[in-house]
Amino acid sequence: MASYGLNMLNSTVNWVTQALDAPSARAVVFGVHIGGHYFVEGLLLVVILFLLSQKSYKPPKRPLTKKEIDELCDDWVPEPLIPSITKEMEYQPPVLESAAGPHVIINGKEVVNFATANYLGLVGHEKVQESCTAALEKYGVGSCGPRGFYGTIDVHLDCESRISKFLGTPDSILYSYGLSTMFSAIPCFAKKGDVIVVDEGVHWGIQNGLHLSRSTIVYFKHNDMKSLHDTLEKITADNKRVKKLRRYIVVESVYQNSGQIAPLDEIIKLKEKYRFRVFLDESNSFGVLGQSGRGLTEYCGVPVEKIDIVTAAMGHALATEGGFCTGSSRVVDHQRLSSSGYVFSASLPPYLASAAITAIDMIEENPGLIVKLKKNISLLLKGLSGIQGLTVTSSPESPIVFLKLEQSTGSIKGDMELLEEIAERALKEDSVFVVTSKRSVLDKCRLPVGIRLFVSAGHTEADLTKACECLKRVSGLVLKHRD
């Protein structure tokens, strides 16, 4: 259309120039005679204005009619809510008929229990039971409210100050569930844009917290200090403006997924060099490592002030439930209003808080429990050396003894089948209760699966020998025909 107009214009111009070559329209520009130019310019202006006023071509918008939407809604078929149930989903764990102490009754038989994290043997201890009974009679069972709205009972405040006193930190905050401690604490301090460097073997609670914080997550190889060093170097070298961001390193003291102990002194050296803050999860080392049970900081000789945030679940050595987080006052006070698992959830039942206080009192008064636990661990490791088909991958002082297959089948599913068979036969034939590591579909950890034994200070030497012999026998049977 535009070119047609231009053609018209040209012919008109020529005609007009020829026709109206009047003297008034002549002009001299730089010594060149130009004729009829006012008329031409006027025409050009009219044409430009005409073209500008044309709308550009857009395809017309046609929103869906009601009938079309109805059709689409009728046609749409959702997926079923859950996939179909396969055979391995029908697994039922063994049902306990008594308290989960070092010996437990399953199906009427007494069984040696290596499946509960009762490291100091305080489950069912009479002092703990007494304090719980007194609390139940005074406060009832539940606390009936979040901490901000009359759910703060004086035992909670006592428990928090007892934990701070024991660890030597200014303040601590109590959560009502161990798993929610980490995934509420991390999003409090890390938001979008911050950088977090984390071990690849951390448990699901930490992974969920990292995901909820929406920060940049960088994984380093499991318990490998060189990999951590390289990662930190890479992050600080690449990014000059990283100085303004908050930077964290998240590690566990004793990893649930492998039983390894993190080398805290090296981590602290790296942290100070690159100016990162450290989040330490001491669930499995509180009450276990160190001379007096104060955890990894005592074991490695690091003053606890150097760790910025320490969290722990109390469902392990302290034989109660819930979790706590401790650190400087600023860290703890910030969580009291910003941590979602603390603000929007009911507080810990008071009898569990009083059980925690009694348990800490007992750890302080009886350091012999920790010594016995250490002895038991070393006896068990000695007994398990030379076991056929399985290797011990946990650290020598870790209360979780982790056995993985020497030769993996190649898939996690295949490994799990073999390990579960070993655990089942151990329970049925020899009355030794061990467990395999479990992975959820949401878990990102890719460490090998294995059999876990939770050693307790309440186990006797006879129990440990029985376990070693049973495992040697059963693993020999199950794994023999693989070679």
Binding site: T116, L136, H203, E321, R330, P349
Partner: protein
């Protein structure tokens, strides 16, 4: 929906503006002081960025004594509130050994199971002796005891579904279940006033989230039609599955969910329904079975029913009830089941005993009495408050009643004055509610007697009239004034 009067909105904005301005002034002086002093940060970025905790430092700390009040007895109808004092203008609060006995209008104690109960407590202590305070293990390892299997059967029977699974904490239940049921490519449509645990769980799942107007089934239908027609954002592929999440009773509004309409819409458009009965299970319904019983909805129409035990049952923990296949799948995949400690045995026993009392299986009719009493108490209290001219939210039969305060200065005034007259109330402000809509929230319990409620009403009225603050009351002969 709450329609805030123009004058009140203006005065509330002005009050907040003033507080904000003073806060900024103090921050400015703080910056100058810090500039003189050397920084202790030494190369690290500050752990809390400037404006993140502005609200906490400059607004919340002024009225910190209204929140987090410690108690030293069971949270029954009357309890002992510990007195606190502060030497540094409310920055830190120190406990004293003095306590004062107050009427409890704040705890979630709907059926009165909070304190030691004649049927429940002896059984809880027995189970403590038998199974100890904690199993120290996850459910799939060594944490499943006979109590846990009994509890799950009991809960499934009570709620009216084929099977149930119980977790140690209600918050974790929502956060860990939603990522399992929904993933990328799914759509979650949730009510605009849903609880933080649902929001967290939905974010953690990776599905697309859309919000519909609070309790408006017509808007839900519009959103559903639009979303099914458009498909996934950018690729326009059809959605894998759609889930609509609603709550039974909304804890900040006291309203009941319009469940029959929502369920019929979801059935029409083939979306799944997730019902969070944290506040309604055990508290409403003829036999305490929750919103479904109250509104006449068949439990088979709701795909996933979730609830917590902290409110009506006086214990701890949460549950999910659904079909047998759903529960089996969750037990195999849910992280809270695989990695979280099992619910504590005395807590589990408390739930079983309280369910037995509610259903009348303990041989008495205390359960029926409690249910009747909470209904009477709620309706009586609400109607009296409305007669006095307060603006009370919520539906009839709901034991949660928020009283609107709006202005930020009324929050501490109401709270402190009521405490002085021995009535403990809960006041809620930003960020749990929208900025302008601060309120005092009252939770009625079956343990409250008529005299308790009458006293509470007297105190509320005297607090309003006695202070130099006059509330905005709907009645024509009360004048509205600003307050600072």
């Amino acid at each position: 929906m709450i329609a805030i009067p123009y004058l009140t909105a203006l005065s509330t904005y002005f009050s907040y503006g003033l507080l904000f301005a003073f806060g900024q002034l103090r921050d400015f002086f703080r910056k100058i002081v810090d500039w003189w002093r050397a920084s202790t940060l030494d190369g690290y970025a500050p752990i809390c960025l400037g404006l993140e905790d502005f609200y906490i430092r400059r607004l919340y700390l002024r009225i910190q004594d209204c929140f987090g009040r410690p108690i030293s007895s069971a949270p029954d109808a009357w309890f002992d509130v510990v007195e606190r004092y502060s030497n540094d203008n409310n920055k830190t609060l120190k406990r004293t050994t003095k306590t004062s006995k107050c009427l409890n209008l704040g705890s979630y104690n709907y059926l009165g199971f909070a304190a030691a109960d004649e049927y429940c407590t002896p059984r809880a202590i027995e189970s403590l002796k038998k199974f100890a305070a904690s199993t120290c293990s996850t459910r799939v390892d060594g944490g499943t005891t006979m109590l846990h299997t009994d509890l799950e059967e009991c809960v499934a029977r009570f709620v009216g579904k084929p099977a149930a699974v119980v977790f140690g904490m209600g918050y974790v239940t929502n956060s860990a279940i939603l990522p399992i049921l929904m993933g990328k490519g799914g759509l979650i449509i949730s009510d605009s006033l849903n609880h933080n645990s649902i929001v967290n769980g939905a974010r953690g799942s990776g599905a697309t989230i859309r919000v519909f107007q609070h309790n408006t089934p017509s808007h839900l239908e519009t959103v559903l039609r639009e979303q099914i027609a458009e498909g996934q954002p950018r690729t326009h592929r059809p959605w894998k599955k759609i889930m609509v999440i609603v709550e039974g009773i909304y804890s900040m509004e006291g309203e009941l969910c319009k469940l029959p309409e929502i369920v019929s819409i979801c059935k029409k458009y083939k979306a799944y329904v997730y019902l969070d009965e944290a506040h309604s299970i055990g508290a409403v319904g003829k036999s305490g079975r929750g919103v479904c019983e109250l509104l006449g909805v068949d439990t088979a129409d709701v795909d996933v029913m979730m609830g917590t035990f902290t409110k009506s049952f006086g214990s701890c923990g949460g549950y999910i009830a659904g079909s047998k296949e759903l529960v089996q799948y969750l037990k195999y995949t849910c992280p809270a089941h695989l990695y979280g400690t099992a619910i504590s045995p005395p807590g589990a026993q408390q739930i079983i005993s309280s369910i037995k009392v509610i259903l009348g299986e303990d041989g008495s009719n205390r359960g029926a009495q409690k249910l009747a009493r909470i209904r009477e108490n709620s309706n009586f209290f609400r109607s009296e408050l409305q007669k006095m001219g307060f603006e009370v939210l919520g539906d009839n039969d709901s034991p949660v009643m928020p009283i609107m305060l709006y202005n930020p200065a009324k929050i501490p005034a109401f709270s402190r004055e009521c405490l002085r007259q021995k009535v403990a109330v809960v006041t809620v402000a930003f960020p749990a509610t929208p900025l302008l809509l601060a309120r005092a929230r009252i939770c009625i319990s079956a343990a409250h007697t008529k005299e308790d409620l009458v006293k509470a009403l007297e105190v509320c009225l005297s607090v309003c009239l006695g202070l130099p603050v006059i509330f905005l009351l709907k009645s024509p002969f009360f004048i509205h004034m600003f307050c600072f």
